[in-house]
Amino acid sequence: MTAIADGIRVIGIGNGDRGDDGIGPLIAERLRASAPSDVSVLIRRGDALALIDDWRGADSAILVDAAAPMTAPGVIHRIDLIADVVPSELSLASTHAFGISQAVGLAYTLGLLPRHLILYAVEGASFAPGAAVTPEVAGAAGPAARRILDEIESLRRIEVEVEADA
């Protein structure tokens, strides 16, 4: 076990009662069962500002959320929220005042970002109240979970290299 071992946090974001909005928690549940035991997995329902507390203390955080339809249901997007230019369009489509991009911006300003912050967003098809995740979007849960497990391994390697250099 390395120093990074308990420093990776996966946060599934979404509402399981709103159709494909539940894909983030669904993937997080899978990872709870399959990720290394030292990776903490949280499920959150959408208070973006609270994410700043959720990733506090973690060296790396991976957010998993649903995305509005754009190309095809179930398409998985990966955005490095620290290294990439965060698109200004990346915001909650809800009417709440704060979305992920604002939480990242605020955490950056306050010096509260983890070293690595990666977003996996899965395009949804339907966000109907009371509905389950649609089959085509649920089908992306397995591939997304595998990519996130690879990401976790990659983050561990980076950390080991950083420690070796130090």
């Binding site: 979404g14 509402n15 709103r18 494909d20 909005d21 329902r45 959408g46 208070d47 500002l49 609270a50 700043i52 507390d53 959320d65 649903a66 995305a67 509005a68 754009m70 997007h77 955005i79 698109p87 369009e89 990346l90 915001s91 909650l92 489509a93 809800s94 009417t95 709440h96 005042a97 704060f98 979305g99 992920i100 604002q102 911006g105 605020l106 300003t109 306050l110 967003a121 395009e123 949804g124 966000f127 109240p129």
Partner: protein, 429 residues
């Protein structure tokens, strides 16, 4: 003919989707409208036919910022209908849960939504570069409020632990330990927050409002009390419809509430404070005075200061309730249905929230009526806008628009909450 039209298609830093239309003709404001264009969600209709015990969970979904208020008004109305009175530790836990919501909601509004207006920043992120401590403190307060809501409500958004008659589960004393520590830290910051906002510059603006709030025999109001005003209203919640009425207006999907025969009124922190200053503990009264407030404040721009006073009160009240807490013998008392009508009014962070339910003998809801604080403040907001725009008419359009938006945010309007998903527009090469 010189005509100016100032339009804000989507008002920022408010909860919900609304717009502002300001029409000026030959130097006079001819129309000031707060347009609420969110589609109606028909909660009152979908409650019909549901069991009376479902009301707190269904109505909590109306708002992600103030779900506790909806739950509290629902359970009190149902208990009133069924002839049940809940007291002792369960009453205290309800007050405690409400403290969590006030702290969380007020901290969010003060620091993240409203303060940037006074300091000339476009948003809280830009403000954080120069006022990092204030923003960090706001997040700490919000976290403390969330912690209370998570412990008592099961989760911070749309709590699931409230039921007619009490709670599904109540915590034991030990479970309060970490929340209590967090609240003590938050209380310390709340005082700093009050001093910070008290130093803002406020536009000289006062109107002769009719303030409406609950008033309790001894406590600053959360769940209980009579509906009172500074112009003589003093009624039980059951008489709400005798004094108040809701009207349709063409430019809004929200109904506008008025006092029959009189017109607009104001609910929320300013009204609560003005009608209940004597119910605040002396040390908090002293802090309010130190912050430049008297027992009555008629400047809506200073509502940010009043909110900060209420945050301190909610922290203190929460700590008092936790210190005195002894778990009840049972988490809830049994409530059996009967054919009846129940009413309740509680103090949401933004003002009084009225519920009325007609229940059949088998416990089904026949009729439901819900009057949220923002529909009660809507007319008052428009009247403020008219006065603000008239007074500041010489300002360039952009500044006038900013000032009007600030005037709207004085009320912390909670237009609604809806689905959560990402709007993602990434163009990949």
């Amino acid at each position: 003919m010189a005509t100016r039209t100032i339009r804000v298609d989507m008002i920022a830093r408010v909860e919900g989707e609304g717009a502002l239309d300001l029409h000026i003709r030959e130097g006079k404001v001819t129309r000031a409208e707060l347009r609420i264009f969110e589609p109606p969600r028909l909660f009152e209709a979908l409650l019909r036919g549901r069991d009376f015990r479902e009301a707190p969970d269904i109505t909590a979904r109306i708002c992600g910022i103030c779900p506790v208020a909806y739950q509290m008004s629902a359970v009190h109305a149902m208990e009133q209908a069924m002839g049940v009175e809940v007291g002792g530790p369960i009453r205290d836990l309800r007050r405690l849960l409400y403290c969590g919501e006030w702290i969380e909601s007020h901290a969010l509004h003060i620091v993240m939504l409203h303060a940037p207006d006074f300091l000339g920043f476009p948003d809280a992120i830009a403000m954080a570069r120069q006022h990092g401590d204030a923003v960090r403190g706001g997040l700490l307060l919000k976290k403390a409020g969330n912690g209370l809501m998570r412990l008592l409500g099961g989760r911070e958004i749309h709590p699931i632990n409230v039921k007619v008659g009490g709670f599904y589960r109540v915590p034991d004393r030990a479970e309060f330990a970490s929340v209590e520590e967090e609240l003590k830290r938050a209380r310390h910051f709340a005082v700093q927050l009050l001093r910070w906002v008290a130093g803002f510059t406020f536009p000289a603006f006062e109107r002769d409002y009719e303030f409406v709030a609950l008033r309790h025999a001894s406590a600053y109001p959360f769940n209980e009390g009579r509906i009172v005003s500074n112009r003589g209203i003093d009624i039980a919640a059951a008489d709400y419809a005798i004094v108040f009425e809701e009207r349709h207006v063409a430019h809004s999907t929200a109904l506008q509430a008025v006092i029959k025969g009189r017109g607009s009124y104001l609910v929320g922190p300013l009204a609560r404070y003005n009608l209940n200053f004597d119910r605040l503990p002396p040390d908090i009264q002293a802090l309010a005075r130190e912050a430049g407030l008297g027992p009555v404040c008629r400047n809506p721009f200073q509502s940010i200061v009043v909110r900060a006073v209420e945050v301190i009160y909610a922290c203190d009240e929460a700590l008092r309730l936790i210190a005195a807490y002894e778990p009840p013998a049972a988490p809830a008392i049994a409530v059996e249905p009967r054919a009846a009508i129940g009413h309740a009014c509680t103090e949401a962070p933004r003002g009084i929230l009225y519920h009325r339910y007609e229940i059949t003998a088998d416990g089904s809801i026949r009729e439901a009526r819900i009057v949220p604080p923002t529909s009660q403040n809507q007319k008052s907001i428009e009247e403020d806008l008219r006065v603000v725009a008239t007074r500041d008419i010489a300002l360039p359009d952009e500044e006038l628009r900013d000032r009007c938006e600030q005037a709207i945010r004085n009320y912390d309007p909670c237009i609604s909450c809806s689905a959560h998903f990402l709007k993602l527009g990434v163009h990949r090469r």
